[in-house]
Each structure stands twice: as C-alpha cells, then as structure tokens.
Symmetry: C2
Subunit: 287 residues, 2 copies
C-alpha cells in the first residue's frame, strides 16, 4: 500500500492519474474503501471574482481549526499541467512549510478531454489520503467547470456585484449546482441588489465577503459546513456518483479508439470521401 | 429531400438534431455532399467582451455584400434551449423580416452533454442549406467553448482591454485556436498594450473595434476573410474533421448505456457496495 502521508508520493499518484497510467486505476481501486470522509468542496465562478483569494482565506481558517486541506486547482483553459498556475505560486509560498496543506494544479488535456474524470480521480486520491477538506477550484464558467463543480459534495459559487448581463446569463447555468453563493468584493456597488436577486430565486445560502481583507470568511465556512450535512444525504451522494461514473466512462470509451483512426477518419470526411456517420458507425462496430 | 430554404423546416431539423432524433442523422447523411461551401466562423471570448454586438455588426455588413448569414448562439451555461436567449431577442427584432438571416440558439443539455456534437451537426445543416456564412457565437471561455470554437473553420477571439490576470490565464487556452483577435471597446485604456502583447506572442491578425459604434467592422471582416483562405488548406480541414468526429462519437457511445444503469451504478458506488472501476468495466463488457 502506498504511503499517502508523503506529499511526493501523492504528487506522483496524481501524475499517474493525469497520464492515464494503469497503476492509477489499481491504486484507486485499492484505496476506494478509504474514501468518503472528506468534505469535497467545489469553488467556481466567473474570472475575476476572487476565487483564489477566497480559497486561501478558507484554507487559513481551516488550518486554525487544525483541519488538513488539499487544494485542486482546475483550469480547463490553461495549456499547463502539473505545475504552478494561477494563484498557486502565491499559495505555495504561503503554505510552503505546512504539511497540512497539499496543492495540486490540473490543466487542460486538449483533444484528449478527460479533465472532469481526472479531477474526480484526484479527489478520490486526496480523500483516501485523509485530508479533512478537498477544495476543487475551477477557473471560468463553462460547461466543463459546471461539470467539475457538480462532482463536488458542496459547491460554492463566487460572484461579484455589477458584472453585467452576460454574467446574469451565466448565473442561470450555475444556479442549479450552487449550495452556497459568495458575493465577493461586497463593498462594491450593487452587492445588496445581487444579494436580493439571488435570495429571490434560489434557496441556497448567500454570504458576503471581502476576501482580500478576510471579511466574511467565518460566515462562508459556516454556510459550507451547513450545506455539508445535506451532501451526506444518500440520494444526493448517489446522484454525485452517477455523474462521476459518467465522466470516468466517457474517458475510457474514447481511449479504445486509436488516435490514427481519428486522423484517417477526419481526412476521409474532409475530402468528402466518406460521410461522418459512416465513419462513426464503422468505429462503433469495430471497437 | 427536405426544402432547406424554408426557415421553419430548418428550425425543425435543428430541433431533431438537439433531441437526437434518428431523422436528424438520416437527413444529415443525405445532405453531407452539399456541405463544405460556407465560411464557418467561430466567435468566442470572455463574458462582457461584446461578442453579440460584434456578431450583429458583422451580419449587417455581410448582408450589405448580399451574403446570407446563419447565426448559431451556443450557451453551455444556460438551461434554456431552442428559444431566444442572450442578445437573440434583439437580433431577431433587427433581422426579423430578412430571409437572408437565420438565427438559432442552443443551450446546455445538462448531464446529457453533447453540446459540441449538436453544434457541429447544426453547422452542417446550415452549411448544406446554402448560407454563405455560418457564425457560431459561444458564451464564456471554458473548455466546452474552446472545443466548439475549434470546430469552426475560422475562429475570432474577442477581448477587451483591462480584464485583469484571470483573463490573461484564459487567453493561454484560447491562444492556440485564434485565427483573428478582436480587441473590442478599443477606446478603453489598455487597448494598445493588449494589442502589443498579442502581437508579441501570436501570429494571428489583431484588429481593434468599438462594435457598439460600428468602428472596425470592415477590418474585422477583412481579417476573417484572409484567415478563411488558410482554413481551406486540406491538412487544416482534416484536423477540424478529426475533432468533429470525436465529439460525434463520444456522444453516441454514451447513448448506448441506459440512464437507469447510471443511476443504479451511482447508488452502488455511493453506498460503497462496489468500486467505480468495477462498475465501469462491467458496462464496457456489456455494451
């Protein structure tokens, strides 16, 4: 059995997961019975909302409570992986000497897809390693981020006042998955209006923060812990797993078709030698 | 053969595609030889960048040139589909009486996924229907939007000056797919710096616009038409089709597993009666 208390071992296992190494599956299968104890917290919201700052402040607060924290920063739009992206360099400096904090970045896999699957499996790994809280921070507000956030037990959506109509449209998509709304930069104009709007059409808890000043962090943590109780509901847990299985399966199915088949098929269709449906049915028959 | 010159017929066929009706596949297979003539233009960028306004202005300009235009507005974060979302209501009023403009909205399919597949198939439909230009406007900057944009022949990425560090991170993800960068709201501070930054690390054409005032639209259209020549390159066309086939296949594979299997599997894993890998391998063996 792998010693998960060692950060380097954990990092290596996370790399196996991202690289789709068969060892990852063997390890996670073995570790699976140890999972299910961590609070899996998804943190999402539009760019510029202050998610990284909030994650830092929540981590500091949880460490005061002697809780261990793993942070998985998922950036579907970044071409970098396994390294320090976004606010991670700052975080790494801040929590560098603290063995109770583990930080991992995960970025796009381009054509390979599989980000939601890799995030799920890494979350399982960190859960099995015994962290009290696993935070999954996603950048952006696209479908991929929504799917990653949906895999969490509790999802906090971070918004800022006055982001305009586009963000109103975005909210519609993340509304369903929010357990807690965090209105960050709550000293900016429009915070009260946003709070009233959210409360008018959603049952999720709404908290206000100024994350850069550490204001509202206690309230945010309290709202998250309150939502955690609901996440333990068996029906909700089964629903979360249904989504996770779908991501894991989707990824494995595409793995079965060799890359060169995709390239040859793309060429045949681009040259109008075959229609796309004939190519796909041929693959489905053969693989 | 379906009469694609009728907007209601087109709208019905688009609904078949979104609903995964078997008729859609039969129709598209039949229509496939008629495709390959339209300029497929992807327009993406962060919320608030002014994509809808730009799409409106480009449409007006193309109509002056007697070109027909189909607009597909893709919003992965919206729970609404087939209706009027985002700036569509405005557009619909503006181009209401013009049979040379067709507008369609497409939104999230939730757990069903398949947005990129549906966007691809709808684009084929509009291409076969004989539109000179098919514009795919995506909201947001997540992986899903990047994938939709990648399916286009020419991709324009709309940015605005002074969007901060988060947007800098986002740019890394959409850099690879951009054929044209549009700096919109170019009268705002930081436009020149953004232009210089983009030119320093990317070979794509950079144009500046103030879309609300119709400034820079001619230049944008010229840059797009210049990029179109490259999109006709056989290697690039094959690459685009490789991506499209992948999306279409992924969607069909998941369709094979009944929804109740996902639900039962999710429950079994949530209750720790089975590990996720055993469930997935069981499905792979049986379907």
């Amino acid at each position: 059995m792998v010693d998960l208390s060692d950060a380097r071992t954990l990092a290596r296992a996370a790399t196996w997961i991202e690289a789709r190494r068969p060892e990852a599956e063997t390890l996670l299968k073995e570790l699976f019975p140890k999972t299910g104890h961590a609070l899996i917290l998804g943190i999402t919201g539009p760019p510029g909302a202050g998610k990284s700052t909030l994650v830092n402040q929540l981590t500091a607060k949880l460490r005061e409570q002697k809780k261990t924290v793993a942070i998985l920063a998922v950036d579907p739009t970044s071409p970098y992986s396994g390294g320090a992206i976004l606010g991670d360099r700052i975080r790494m400096l801040q929590h560098h000497a603290d063995p109770g904090v583990f930080i991992r970045s995960m970025a796009t896999r381009g054509w390979l897809g599989g980000l939601a699957r890799a995030a799920t499996e890494t979350t399982l790994l960190l859960d099995a390693a015994g962290f009290d809280v696993v935070m999954i921070e996603t950048v952006g507000v696209g479908q991929d981020e929504v799917e990653v956030a949906r895999l969490a037990g509790v999802t906090a959506v971070v918004l800022v006042p006055g982001m305009g109509d586009d963000v109103q449209a975005i909210k519609a998509g993340i509304m369903e998955i929010a357990d807690v709304f965090v209105i960050n930069k709550a000293d900016q104009p429009g915070a009260d209006k946003l709070e009233n709007d959210l409360k008018a059409w959603h049952r999720a808890k709404v908290v206000k923060t100024i994350a850069t000043d550490g204001i509202g962090i206690d309230e945010t943590l309290a709202a998250i812990q309150e939502a955690q109780a609901k996440a333990k509901d068996p029906a909700r847990a089964a629903q979360i797993w249904t989504g996770r299985l779908r991501e894991m399966l989707r990824d494995r199915l595409l793995d079965r078709i060799p890359a060169e088949e995709f390239v040859a098929g793309g060429k045949a269709v681009a040259e109008r030698r075959q229609d796309p449906y004939s190519v796909i049915h041929d693959w489905l028959d053969r693989y």
